[in-house]
Amino acid sequence: MLKQMEGSRAVAEAVALCRPEVICAYPISPQTHIVEALGEMVKDGSLTNSEFINVESEFAAMSVAIGASAAGARSYTATASQGLLYMVEAVYNASGLGLPIVMTVANRAIGAPINIWNDHSDALSQRDSGWLQLFAETNQEALDLHIQAFRLAEELSLPIMVCMDGFILTHAYERVDMPTQEQVDAYLPPYSPRQVLDPAEPVSIGAMVGPEAFMEVRYLAHAKQMEALTLIPAYAAEFKAVFGRDSGGLLHTYSTEDAETIIIAMGSVLGTIKDVIDEMRQGDNGGHKIGVLGITCFRPFPLAGVAAALQHCKRFVVLEKSLAIGIGGIVATNVRMAVTGMGLKGYTVIAGLGGRAITKKSLHAVFRKAEMDNIDPVTFLDLDWKVVNNQLEREKAHRKSGPVAEALLRDVGVVAARNY
């Protein structure tokens, strides 16, 4: 059924259709609307057989989900940014214990300086946590990915993060096609755990494992993620059969058939990039052989799929909302692993950190330069060099130059968003 609604509401309704049995809620922007909506559904009785628990921290949110999942309940929570970092110990524990928890990450920057706006630093900091990570391009895909995530998680006995851009998706009102309960029930069977805490069949879960078997445990976690590379496209295909929509999968290409330059990105920015690519191919100054590769599944990383998508191009540009400080890109590093030995030119464009707008104008400029191999290997899109250089000079001149963020804002002269 077509509806006009906020992204958070759409995700909350989709999660409710998945019949979650335990929902843990702790507020953090920009995720909060999702758990608020679920809390209302539980309280007004529209979502039954579900315990909604207001916990005292994200660490507790994930821990309650761990206990509930281990006792056989379908468990869900949502978080972002500092909240995800606060629960990290439990995040690793959930995957180590093989508990199929589904968590929405409403992607947001990490402080300091504190910043509530969107980038991918939070989820990507957890890339090695053993969780599967799926990135939604649109609100429709965010909604759909949650339904697929519960099925995947429970089949693999692994937890999944569904990542959606904070504010850009979570707070955007868009048309979505909301499935019916019958459709979701047909696609998603009830949770049948592989291991469960049950007095009738007592088991010890979470025992200590020494050097004699720890590596094997870790290898098996890796092997399961490799299995997911087959399962994810298969479940996306089944999803299409039930719901009539292409959603999910490992990755998506757009106008790559004859492309010499392929832009690689994740999440909502793919929409803006596709618009720019359309303009560069059509328009008055068209004719550019440029395409897009959107990565939906970041963990497991589809090495073979990325290599196949890039096999006929000359260069790729990874445009990412994340920065591996001290080396460059995070997504780019993964992509380079996929193209080892292919002899491609590759560039990393760091963009949109802390919610900086990624405009079509800037993308046009940077893509055109990239086509001519005229950009730095690691390029920072729309970086204010004047402000940066001022600060660098200041630090050379004075050892005690004060807090960096304050100094920069004073130079910029504003504390609110700028126009680019």
């Binding site: 628990i53 821990s63 206990g67 309940a73 805490l197 069949e201 007592p202 200590m208």
Partner: protein
């Protein structure tokens, strides 16, 4: 042979007259039908108070629920010595997740049981004093405040014994640990720091809070039984001497727990909804020296020049407990 009513304690001794009691009044531990929830063969030290406390408490909980207990366990001695892969001593469904999240994991289990309608199965969370009063305190307070249907048991041995006897917020004043060494002008743990978690639990106004020691088996079992009759958040804080950390003989574990109670150092009481209902009265008042002297962690207080002022300070703490909780008032229990 018929049974005749007897005084619970034989006059002049601490011997529990278990064998003279009718079978239905005997302790859970005295029955050959006890569950042995934590079975023999684990790797606890000789004389481990925590192993004893856990066996008493969980067996009593199993008895009270007819074997319907799921346990969540914090990282620590109890977790490490009971479950070295691939062995486990636990005869009950048991999960270890992390050091600081045990109360929250238990909340999750209780929520799952509720939503599945399996309310006959009860949840017990357990951890040492480090996992409870320090790193696990946030999750514990959250569980209390929400009044989740969990019994949390803290086995308090006054320090991080698993990692080599470091100070916790439950380490008593003046005690030597590896992070409060017996050196300098004020050797051992500082006065005026630390917390008595049972009092903090009381402040949450939860349905049930109790303290106990491994020296009073029947009292401990009765408190677990009472706790299992109640729904909502419950807390039992059990003093469990640690021969390694306290520097006491393995065969003195019960004696040390009893001395802690008899000197007033560790008050034993029971409370419902924030109100203290009963205390276990001191039977033979003793000076704190009797409790301190056998412990090497207080050795720096004695020797050639006893630290009289420090001992007096510890005696004052015990006297304060005696007054605050009415430990010398007879007929309270």
């Amino acid at each position: 042979m018929s049974f005749q009513p007897v005084k619970f304690y034989q006059t002049g001794t601490f011997t529990v007259g278990n064998r003279l009691l009718p079978p239905e009044e005997r302790s859970v531990q005295s029955s050959d039908k006890r569950f042995n929830s934590i079975n023999s063969g684990h790797r606890a030290c000789q004389g481990c108070g925590e192993a004893l406390g856990a066996r008493y408490a969980i067996d009593a909980a199993m008895e009270a629920t007819n074997g319907q207990v799921i346990a969540a366990n914090a990282t620590g001695c109890l977790e490490v010595f009971s479950t070295p892969y691939p062995e486990t001593s636990w005869q009950i469904p048991w999960i270890h997740s992390l050091f600081g999240n045990t109360a929250a994991v238990a909340t999750g289990i209780a929520a799952a049981l509720k939503v599945k309608g399996q309310t006959q199965t009860r949840v017990v969370a357990q951890g040492g004093d480090g996992g409870t009063t320090d790193i696990g305190f946030g999750c514990l307070s959250g569980m209390f405040e929400r009044n989740d249907d969990v019994l949390y048991i803290c086995y308090d041995n006054g320090g991080y014994m698993n990692t080599g006897v470091q100070r916790s917020s439950a380490t008593p004043s003046a005690a030597r640990t590896s992070t409060t060494p017996a050196v300098g002008s004020a050797p051992g743990n500082v006065f005026g720091q630390g917390k008595f978690l049972p009092a903090i639990a009381l402040a949450h106004d939860i349905p049930y809070v109790a303290t106990a020691t491994v020296a009073d088996l029947r009292d401990l079992e009765a408190k677990v039984r009472r706790a299992m009759e109640i729904r909502g958040a419950r807390y039992i804080h059990i003093l469990v001497p640690c021969p390694l950390g306290w520097g006491t003989a393995a065969h003195d574990t019960i004696r040390m727990a009893r001395l802690a109670k008899e000197t007033g150092t560790f008050p034993v009481f029971e409370a419902e909804y924030g109100e203290i209902k009963s205390v276990l009265a001191i039977r033979h008042p003793l000076p704190v020296e009797d409790y301190l002297k056998p412990q090497k962690r207080y050795a720096h207080l004695f020797g050639k020049q006893p630290k009289v002022d420090v001992i007096a300070h510890l005696q004052a703490q015990a006297d304060r407990n005696i007054k605050r909780y009415g430990l010398l008032e007879q007929g309270t229990r």
